[in-house]
Symmetry: C2
Subunit: 198 residues, 2 copies
């Protein structure tokens, strides 16, 4: 519209998830009209993050150092390893404050049609860690989707001869969930895995 640099900025902003043409334009106008410093700071932060953040060599989560803070920490229980699909899942579990072990980030799930097999999601590294470290329990916290379940089952099979406990996070009605709005698959899981309370 106003110049090639403007059109280019609007176009590039659309790499951000959830940003369509209208909101990209609104963002570009906002930065140019009201917050050029903020725009330059964002450019710098993007550059720095894209160049400095890599994968932790132990857990494959995001880290600026070769080994991430969680893997390097002495305060984490080294016997517990929680397998998740993505770094976002690490954040979600950390924010729940309910896990003190360490993680392994697959970086996706098995998807043969897309050429994503065990190698691509780091299964060899996971098995090698189970073999060489003092891990006593692997918690499979992949998503409760068809792909997440299939990936969890693959790991259960691949680790069946190893002397560890393998668990899967519970599925059921979410906190605050009203039964009439919970999907029937979730309800049937919640009934099947009901717990004895007295």
């Amino acid at each position: 519209m106003f110049s090639p640099a403007f059109d280019d900025l609007v176009q590039r902003l659309r790499v951000l998830p959830g940003v369509g043409p209208k909101s990209a334009q609104r963002m570009a106008l906002h930065l140019l009209s009201r917050n050029r410093h903020g725009g330059l700071d964002l450019a710098h932060a993007l550059n720095h993050a894209m160049h400095s953040i890599q994968s932790c060599v132990m857990c494959r989560s995001l880290s600026e150092k070769e080994v991430c803070n969680i893997c390097a920490s002495n305060d984490r229980d080294q016997h517990l390893l929680c397998v998740v699909e993505s770094p976002a899942d690490v954040i979600a579990i950390e924010q729940s404050g309910s896990f003190k072990g360490r993680y392994f980030v697959l970086g996706g799930h098995l998807s043969p049609l897309d050429g994503i097999g065990p190698e691509e999601i780091g299964i060899p590294l996971l098995l090698s860690r189970i073999n060489h470290e003092e891990i006593s329990e692997v918690i499979l916290a992949t998503n409760a989707t068809v792909e997440g379940q299939a990936t969890a089952h693959y790991i259960i099979e691949a680790s069946k001869n190893l002397p560890i406990k393998v668990t899967r996070i519970a599925q059921g009605v979410p906190q605050g969930g009203e039964l009439e709005y919970v999907d029937s698959h979730t309800l049937s899981q919640a009934l099947q895995y009901r717990l004895s309370v007295r």
Copy 2:
């Protein structure tokens, strides 16, 4: 969470309008996990736009050149000048395809409490252009808000001795507007300014 560079990126993404902590985190994870090239391209586009886009010396809209494409064009009617609050309004009117004159961008509206007076919104430049160019009509297309109306009225007063026609864009029920959902002020304007049809 993962590193200072990650936290900094999430923080900086929040300069974008409509981006809260949750979506900033989602954006950062998306770029780092799936589109680092896109992240670097965005950083470059931001840098380039913030440095190269300035205000057109004639109309105060956004431009990479001293005089913007619209002001420099010979295809635009030099007798018509449309006064708007922001560059976003220029885009909206251009997209409507219903105006072939030129623009003047105030860059806001009068707001005495915030220290925004006539100087800040370029009124001296506007009056000087009306005096020195062959402008025969000034169309006031400021917003239909209290501030936009007050700003339009200020320009009507300030230009009352100049030999030009001054018009205000029409207010009324928007295209497709269902009367039961239109606010009563708009309805009363639409009734007051009703047009004779036969």
